[in-house]
């Protein structure tokens, strides 16, 4: 065996020099676009007499860390909603996935004596106690998305509909494939251990069952681009002929689409989930396999802010006959297709 074929010092030196040069080249890690784009998310606005300025209210807002597109949109939409009202001051606590920190944020709001609290808890059970404390201190709490374990902990609760997402996706696929009972339907779920994933899958299964279809192949990704790509690559390999795919989450959808593109497949149509701007653009352009996506509203915390304002100002929801803000609002999971995408684009979030 000959020795010293590779001279480590010289090689490493060369690498280090290249590395330094490269980092200088792209020296800044900026993500500023060359031309600034203005894409503030503003949804369809219904103006009612409730929107007339009322008593000045301070609303405390706390949500988990914006570690994916949907959660980022949650806080952004809540801020944007509060901006529309001159009588609302929204105090936004720094997003956190640490329940301890989130509890202390709510304690802070109680000490400060805000007029209402909008809370999307990282873990509903863990935040129930402090929410009860706020309610007992006379501060109405609006619970968003992840439910508390006690009905006394919130004045009102705004929920998405995970089961309904599955139903909407399944019903849409049924409409498209209904006359073909042998059609192959695949599902790309999110993290399987989460109740929300189980609810979505259950709804999907039930809706397909209604028209005589079933889930022929199912994989579970982890809501990340990487896992979406990996699971989809295997799925496509396992099923040479697919008619329709439902992907639970548009954030992981970027990876799902990359895998579909890499495999060069287009014999099926894809239905997304959550409703990212990216997917809506693809639906609108019509030149990809993405044909629809099911909304899981990223505007639900914005709804929370609106309800908190009404509760704090002793107003009532204008389009209901009954008096008082409802105890619970469960939002609809509509299907976005090329026909109605225009309407939903403003609430599409950047993943």
């Amino acid at each position: 065996m000959s020795s010293t074929i590779v001279r480590p010092r010289r090689v490493a030196g060369a690498f280090a020099a290249t590395a330094a040069a490269a980092l200088l080249l792209t020296g800044c890690v900026s993500n500023e676009p060359r031309e600034s784009e203005d894409d503030a998310a503003t949804g369809p606005v219904a103006v009612t007499e409730n929107d007339e300025p009322g008593d000045e209210v301070v609303i405390g807002f706390s949500a988990p860390a914006a570690d994916h597109g949907w959660m980022g949109a949650i806080t952004a939409a809540a801020r944007a909603e509060a901006e529309k009202y001159e009588d609302v001051t929204l105090q936004v606590a720094e997003g956190t996935n640490d329940v301890n920190v989130q509890i202390s944020q709510i304690e802070g709001f109680i000490d400060q004596g805000v007029d209402a609290i909008v809370l999307l808890p990282f873990d509903g059970a863990a935040l129930t106690d402090v929410a009860l404390e706020a309610m007992e201190a006379g501060i109405p709490v609006i619970n968003v998305d992840r439910e508390f374990t006690s009905p006394f902990a919130a004045r009102s609760t705004v929920l998405g509909d995970n089961y309904g997402m599955g139903v909407s996706a399944g019903t849409y696929i049924c409409e498209q494939l209904g006359d073909n009972p042998d059609a192959v339907v695949a599902e790309i779920a999110g993290i399987d251990s989460l109740p929300l994933t189980q609810d979505r899958s259950q709804g999907f299964e039930d809706a397909l069952d209604d028209c005589g279809l079933d889930v022929d192949a199912r994989v579970a990704a982890e809501f990340t681009v990487e896992s979406g790509e990996e699971q989809t690559a295997n799925l496509l390999s396992a099923e040479p002929e697919i008619d329709a795919i439902w992907n639970h989450d548009d954030d992981q959808g970027i990876g799902v689409l990359a895998a579909i593109e890499n495999a060069g497949r287009d014999e099926f149509f894809l239905v997304g989930g959550a409703g990212s701007k990216n997917m809506m653009d693809l639906i609108q352009s019509g030149d990809s396999v993405v044909q629809a996506t099911v909304i899981y509203p990223s505007t639900q915390a914005a709804d929370g802010v609106k309800l908190a304002r009404l509760v704090a100002q002793n107003k009532t929801v204008s389009d209901l006959a009954s008096i008082g803000v409802p105890r619970q609002v469960q939002l609809y999971a509509p299907v976005v297709t090329a026909d109605n995408v225009e309407e939903f684009l403003p609430i599409g979030f950047d993943s």
Partner: protein
């Protein structure tokens, strides 16, 4: 006799791995038939193995020398994010697609060298130094990306290069093959490789034999960082996007593949061939499970069982070698 068993030992160990892989393939063919044994599916398995594979090659060097690198997954995430910021993308549009590649490799290499410097010169235990890098690199990636997914747009040549299929095999699989071959050569046929084994086997004796252990350690972590950078490039090509979630828990997959392959976690013995087989076993396992539409939780159990069986076999062979050679 002793010499013969010393030669037989590694061959037997490899034999066990090949047997395991063959068994998986048989199960795949039996349950999936044509669907498993198609060119398309085999390429899927190899493409899936590429990221973990490349990173595991770097990991093999570090573990052979008695170290550990827990930061590779986070470094893959950081490199993928840094190489796909808008600033990098604009530079790539202006100067060429290679800017993305060089940026990812550079970020990986620098992170690896920082690890190496901390371990070698700062005398921080490898477990702690790279654990710190794991946390810091992931955090920095989140800050740079603002926790958004950064899709690479308008740098078509990058995808033309990395999504092409020379001779019918995807470029990213070729990259895995080249990195594995280079790693095999470096570990088995160079002074650098022999020194790596020596440092892992007996650091004190190596020092007395004149090996500059500190500098050597620095290079080893540099290699692990560089392979993480290569892994980031592959992931960028496969997913078309950079994200701070890229490479999550990849370090554990890499360590598992290396250890299952027969490299001693305590150092002093390393095998690139074994690592490649280890990576292929895990990616084939995933593929066979998806092919049969089985629960991913059961797959996790199977993965755990394979790791335990492999390590038990290793210990059994090691004990036998000792008995027969003394």
């Amino acid at each position: 006799m002793s010499q013969r068993s010393a030669l037989m030992g590694p061959a037997l160990r490899m034999g066990g791995l090949v047997l395991a892989l063959v068994l998986l393939v048989v199960v795949g063919v039996a349950t999936g038939g044509e669907r498993f044994w198609s060119t398309g599916n085999l390429i899927t398995v190899l493409s899936l193995a590429a990221v973990t594979g490349v990173v595991s090659i770097g990991m093999t060097f570090v573990i052979t020398s008695g170290g550990i690198d827990l930061s590779v997954g986070a470094v893959v995430g950081l490199a993928s994010v840094w190489a796909s910021t808008l600033a990098t993308q604009y530079a790539a549009q202006d100067y060429g697609w290679w800017v993305i590649v060089v940026t990812a490799l550079a970020v990986g290499l620098v992170a690896g060298l920082v690890n190496g410097a901390l371990v070698a010169y700062g005398k921080v235990p490898a477990f702690i130094a790279t654990l710190a890098m794991l946390a810091a690199a992931r955090g920095l990636a989140e800050i740079i990306a603002g926790r958004r997914t950064q899709v690479i747009r308008d740098v078509e040549p990058f995808f033309d290069v990395f999504q092409s299929r020379p001779l019918g095999v995807p470029t990213i699989v070729w990259i895995f093959v080249v990195v594995a071959a280079a790693g095999w050569f470096l570990l088995n046929r160079t002074t650098f490789g022999r020194r790596t084994v020596a440092v892992g086997g007996n650091p004190e004796a190596s020092r007395l034999a004149g090996i500059k252990i500190k500098r050597h350690t620095l290079y080893l972590y540099g290699i692990a960082g560089l392979t993480a950078g290569i892994g980031a490039v592959i992931l960028l090509a496969r997913t078309t996007a950079g994200s701070s979630t890229h490479g999550t828990l990849l370090e554990l997959d890499a360590i598992a593949a290396v250890v299952v392959g027969g490299t001693l976690l305590a150092g002093g013995r390393g095998t690139i061939t074994g690592t490649v087989l280890g990576v292929l076993i895990f990616s084939t396992l995933t593929n066979v499970f998806v092919l049969n539409n089985l629960d991913s939780s059961v797959q996790a159990i199977a993965k755990g069982a394979i790791i335990v069986v492999a390590v038990l076999l290793q210990q059994w062979f090691a004990a036998r070698e000792k008995v027969t050679s003394t």
